[in-house]
Every structure is written in C-alpha cells, then in structure tokens.
C-alpha cells in the first residue's frame, strides 16, 4: 500500500505541466550536487591524513572530528529549521481515502528523510569511517560510533520536523534559534565554555563504551515515535492546509489610494506580495541586495582603471538597485495568474495596468537607490557608477523585464516553496544574462565611437531617455501584451 503512495509521488512529478523545465533544472542541480558529493568524497578519504599532519599531543584525528561534531549537529539543526520541508501537505489527498492514518503518517515521515542534508554528509562520513576511524579503533567501537552519528542525523531530521510542526511556526523563532547558535560559537571563541572538549568527550565515549550507541539509537526511534503520534492525531485537513489567516493582515495603504487606478493596482500587488509566501521574497530581497556591494567593494582596489574594474562596478551597480525589477518585473503577470480572469474582464485600462507595473518598479527602485547612497563612502567613482546604473535600470531594465515577463505562461503557485522554479517560465538567471547582453551593445558602441567613459554615461543617458519616453515605450509594450495575453490566459488556466 505504502508503495503506491510513492508511485503517486512519481506520477505527480512526471505529469506536471512544467516537467521538462523541472528536468532541466534538476539536471543542473543534480550536476552541482554531484560535484559537491565528489568533493566531499575526496575530503572524506583524505580527512584522516589532513588532520593527522599536526595533531596536539595525545590525540588523534577522530578526536578532532568528535570535537566539532556538536557544532555540526547544531548548524545542521538550524539549517533544517529553515530549509527542511514539512511533508504533511503531500498527505492531503490521502486523508480522505480508506488508508489508515498511521500508514499516511509513516509515509510522510519517510518522505521527510529525502533531503540532501541527509545524504551529503554521508559522503564524508563513510570514507572517513574506513580510512580514519577503523585505522585507529577496533571494529566494534567504530561501528558503534558510525551508528550513533547516523542515528543523530535521523534524530535531527525528526526533531526539526517536530519543532517546525509545533513551535517554530514563525520566522522570528527561527531567528532565535540562529541566535542561540551564534551565542554558542561566541562562548567557544572567547573560551567561556568549551563545547569542543564537551563534544569530544561525548562522542569519544561511544568509542570507549560501544554499548552507549543505544542512547542515540533509542533517542532517534523515540523522536520518530513522537512525530508519528503527533501526525496521526493532526492529519486533519484543517491542520494541514491552515496557513496564515486574514486576522494577521490588516494593512492599508491610504497613501496609494490618492493615486487613482494606478494606486489601486499597486496596492493590490503589494498585498499579493505580503500575503503570499513565495511572492514575499520579491519585496524584501531588494532591500537586502542593497548591501551586496559591501562584499565586493571591500576587497577590490576601486580606483584601478581597467575594463574589468569598470565592468565589475557596473555589474554590482546594476544589482544594488535593480533586484526588484529583476524579480518583480519578470514575474509580474504570472504572480497574477490565479486571478488573471478578473484582470482581463474588469474595467482595467490595459495601458494603466502596465503603467502601474512600471511606476511600482520606479517607486521601489528609487527607494532602494536612496538607501544605497551610503556607498558614497567608497568614493565618488562608486557613487557615479551606481547612479548611472540606477538610471539605466529605471529607464531600460524595467521595460526589458516587463517584455520578458509576457513570455511566462504557466500558472504560478503562490503558496509554494520560495526556492521552487515552478511557474517561472523565463529563468531569472537567463533573463539577467540577456540584460547584460542587451546593455553591452550600446555600451560597446559608445566606447567604440567616442571612447573614454562614454559607454557608462551612454547607458545612463539611455535610462533618462527611457524615463522621459516611458509612455511611448509602454504603448509599444501594450501591443506585445495584447498579442500575448491570450497565450498567458490559456496557460494560466491549465492547472
């Protein structure tokens, strides 16, 4: 019986409308994982040799590994709180079927195990077990050590699952968990408390008293049991589907209502982004990306005159202010896929509709630009480049991404995972790459014709032109939108 639950899973993947793009994404992702796995494998094989080079007297490589394990499991747990998916939603369609709750709960819990966080560490652990642990210790204690680590991985998986189900239901609490972890690291660093020696003692004891292996084994089994019991009692539709409800949202945008239809449309999109998990990222990421420059500017010699440096500064400048355009601009129509019928049939002038999108991007991008003014600290050059790229973004990137967004025609699941690629027809990375090519043409033309700094200034000027003639450009875009709207509408209607 449980077998066909898994068969359904496979069919739901195989038969989804964007299976091909998923396969492509998964191949890329799979290759990445493979490379990481290979690196881990190599690290696992040579870990013993690397660690054995300069050991403190009286210890071995396994002791060193034992010493950091507590941090590993701590970080592992926090990462799981953030990334590990709750699988109970997959049980939704089976709750009503004549399948015992226990069976569904087992199914959900087994599915929870399927995450890379559980497989990747094995690539280090297993080779190190053969080359390191077995070299130093005898067979039985080594096995006990390995089994306890594997049990702890299971324990962490289900502890995180249970915590997410019961306690860590909002992000703030997750931040708290991160805070605790940071505190632990700081305590270690300032030698207030030594978690390293505690960890070494804890995991070392299994090697000296192999029967201790039953402690983690029992703990993980107990944790599985607790999860199972909880799920059996809570696999009701209302528990599974419950999201954030209307009571937690009371926002109003009185300022926007002064701007007529454009204000109405912008406030609708603002609500869309605030109330749907997957779209929310478009709203807060731009304000995080402002600080992206800090990573680059600190390490580079910003006064260096070279083509590469100019390219780097332009690239960074585009991202600092342009992230909202790249995220919202590209998904603007498919974010609305669930209520596209309303958009098409209600009294919304299509030109105003596009204009609202443009003004919204203009508004947020300008806010982000104002926030980014602190970069003047890194000198005038950074300031000038960023300002020119801001102009380029609001006058050119905006229209470019709006144009590309008319090619997204699959229904967008707003409640899905933040990292899912579902419904994003045009890949963001491809779009950004295309933008770079589009920007390179006028840039190189100016450089070739006039030379000097003209390429950069030219891009800024193009931005100003775009801003001045935005009504005309939007009218052109409206034609494109008129051609594509039936294709989008039919695509959005397919579930």
């Amino acid at each position: 019986m449980t077998l066909w639950l898994f068969q359904h899973q496979w069919k739901s993947i195989r038969r989804s409308s964007d299976f091909q793009s998923k396969v492509a994404a998964n191949i890329v992702f799979g290759l990445l994982i493979l490379v990481v796995a290979l690196e881990f494998l190599l690290l696992g094989f040579f870990l013993d040799r690397i660690l054995s080079r300069d050991l403190p007297p009286g210890s071995d490589s396994v002791d060193l590994v034992d010493g950091v394990l507590i941090f590993y499991f701590g970080i592992d747990f926090v990462l799981r709180l953030v990334f590990q998916k709750l699988r109970s939603i997959t049980a939704r369609q089976y709750v009503l079927q004549p399948i015992s709750r226990k069976e569904i709960a087992h199914f959900v819990l087994v599915k929870t195990l399927g995450t890379t966080v559980n497989f990747l560490p094995l690539f280090i652990l297993i080779p190190f077990f053969f080359t390191g642990v077995l070299r130093i210790h005898s067979f039985l204690p080594s096995i006990a050590w390995l089994v306890s680590l594997l049990s702890l991985l299971l324990f962490n998986t289900y502890l995180a699952n249970y915590s997410k189900l019961r306690f860590f239901t909002n992000p703030i609490k997750t931040f708290l968990a991160v805070g605790v972890l940071v505190a632990v690291v700081l305590l270690e660093k300032f030698q207030v408390l030594s978690f390293v020696s505690f960890s070494a003692l804890l995991f070392g004891s299994v090697l000296h008293h192999p029967f201790l292996v039953f402690a983690p084994l029992l703990a993980s089994a107990a944790m599985y049991g607790i999860n199972l019991r909880f799920l059996i009692h809570h696999l009701y539709l209302e528990d599974i589907v419950a999201g954030r409800n209307a009571k937690s949202f009371r926002e109003h945008f009185p300022l926007l209502s002064g701007f007529g239809e454009i204000g109405t449309l912008i406030s609708l999109d603002l609500k869309l982004m605030m109330r749907n998990k997957r779209a929310r990222i478009s709203l807060w990421m731009p304000f995080v990306m402002v600080f992206y420059g800090l990573m680059i500017y600190q390490t580079e010699n910003l006064d260096k005159e070279s083509a590469f440096m100019e390219f780097l500064l332009m690239f960074v400048g585009t991202f600092i202010t342009g992230f909202f355009i790249m995220s919202y601009g590209l998904t603007t129509f498919c974010y609305e896929s669930r209520h596209f019928g309303l958009i098409l049939t209600n009294r919304i002038d299509m030109f105003t509709y596009l204009k609202a999108r443009y003004y919204f991007m203009l508004l947020v991008t300008t806010l982000v630009y104002l926030l980014s003014l602190f970069y003047v600290y890194y000198g005038m050059r950074v300031f000038v480049v960023n300002s020119l790229m801001f102009l380029f973004n609001i006058g050119c990137s905006t229209f470019f991404f709006l144009y590309l967004s008319t090619f997204n025609k699959s229904k967008f699941d707003l409640s899905g995972s933040v990292f899912s690629t579902q419904g994003k027809g045009t890949n963001q990375f491809v779009a950004i790459f295309l933008l770079l090519i589009v920007a390179a043409v006028p840039y190189l033309a100016f450089q070739w014709l006039i030379g000097g700094k003209s390429g950069l200034v030219g891009l800024g000027l193009l931005g100003v032109l775009g801003l001045v003639f935005h009504n005309q450009i939007l009218a052109l875009l409206m034609n494109q939108y008129g051609r594509r709207k039936y294709i989008m509408s039919e695509g959005f209607r397919q579930t």
């Binding site: 239809e261 609500k271 669930r338």
Partner: protein, 233 residues
C-alpha cells in the same frame, strides 16, 4: 447586444465550438445548457475575451470585444475562481472592484447591503481571506463581484452548484429581478430546473454546435429532460 459571427474555437484538430450566427438581444435572459464538453464555458470565455477564437468574432453593442475595451464598463462576469483574488478579504475584493468603477468606499458599502440576505451572514466582517472561505461562499463573492457595478450584461458560468438551497432560491430571485429591470443575463447551467426558472430563452449546445434554441414555456423543462434522457441511454 451580443452577436457571434462564424465563431469557432479549436484545440489542435478538435473543434470545440462552432456558432455560425447567434444574437442575444438587449434585456434577454439567455440560458445555455449542455453536457460537459459541450462548449458552454468556451463560448462565455470568448464573449469576455479571455481566450482567442480560431475564427469569427463576438460583438458587444456592435463593437468587436477583441478590438475594444468598451464592454468592460457594462459587463459583469463570473466564470471561475480566476475571477477572484483569493488573498484578499471579501471587503477588500469588493472595494477593489468598486474602485475600478470609480465608486467611493461608501457607495460600495451601500451597494453590498442589497446582498445581505444572499450572503447569509457568512461573508462580510468575518476577517477571512477569500481563499479560506468554502466553495459556496467563494462563489457568492464572485457572483456579487460581478453584479456590484450594476452592469447591463451579466455573464455567469454555472452559478448554482456549491450554493446552499436557500442561496440558490435567493440567487434566482436576484437574477429574475435584474432581468425585469432590463439587465441582459447569460447563464449556463447543468441544472435544467434552475435555468428554465430564470431564463426566457434556452439554447442547447452539443459538442460545440447549437442544436436547439427556443423560448421557455411550460413544456420546456420536460422537453429538455427528455432530450438529455435520450442522450443518457
């Protein structure tokens, strides 16, 4: 009011709708019946221009709906959930539609009072998003959203399923009253009973083709039932 000329829609090689000529007059109450796949939703979707015809055109008040947006000012429609904005509360949703038509929040509130009975105390003031409402209540929100701007033409696809019995009766009363005031109604339904009660003209679609088009009289319901009974054998 609404005219279709040589209207066809095809998916691949399969023609799902083929209407050489159909005219729906001002103030008519037009009922569309047919089994699943007969093309009812396709026809309505073409009228509100959310899908593209393979050939032919739909005209509303003499102008092609593809070429102009004029019809949006006097046409209220609810075909499916894509006409709802599920992350809004019903109040916000009605406010949004109202503001598109230039209503003040006061006007919207006043107009909503007309539907207090229809809502049955389950829609307004509940602090719930539309996505948290039951199917029946979602449908009520969608239908009232279509009626709120007091349009001259109302297009509803399958308005009766999911509604509770009292709401069905209220909705039929609302629709008949609207029609008495001169509003043109286009309603599709699987339920022959309801549609013959509301509509004075019934058109039967089968595999995309109009096979019957007549005024409702005392025998209509019986005739329709006989027609569909034959198809069930």
């Amino acid at each position: 009011m609404i005219e279709a000329h040589n209207l066809t829609k095809a998916y691949g090689n399969v023609t799902v709708l083929n209407i050489p000529q159909l005219t729906i007059g001002e103030g008519e109450s037009f009922g569309l019946v047919g089994n699943n796949g007969a093309g009812k939703t396709t026809f309505f979707s073409l009228i509100v221009d959310i899908i593209k015809a393979a050939s032919g055109s739909v005209q509303s008040r003499g102008k092609d709906v593809k070429m102009s947006d004029h019809w949006k000012a006097y046409t209220g429609s609810y075909l499916d959930e894509s006409f709802l904005v599920d992350f809004l509360t019903p109040e916000e949703y009605f406010g949004f539609i109202g503001s598109l038509h230039g209503f003040t929040p006061e006007t919207t509130r006043t107009r909503l009072q007309t539907y207090t009975d229809f809502f049955g105390g389950e829609i307004l003031g509940k602090k719930k998003f539309i996505r948290e409402l039951s199917r029946g209540n979602q449908k009520k929100v969608g239908i009232v959203g279509a009626l709120l701007p007091e349009p001259a033409t109302v297009i509803l696809d399958e308005p009766f399923p999911h509604l509770d019995p009292s709401s069905v009766i209220r909705l039929k009363r609302i629709l008949r009253e609207l029609n008495d005031k001169g509003v043109t109604l286009l309603i599709s339904s699987h339920d022959l009973n309801h549609v013959t009660e509301v509509c004075k003209r019934i058109v039967v679609l089968e595999k995309g083709i109009i096979i019957n088009d007549k005024e409702t009289n005392d025998n209509t319901l019986k005739e329709l039932e006989e027609y569909f009974a034959v198809h069930a054998d």
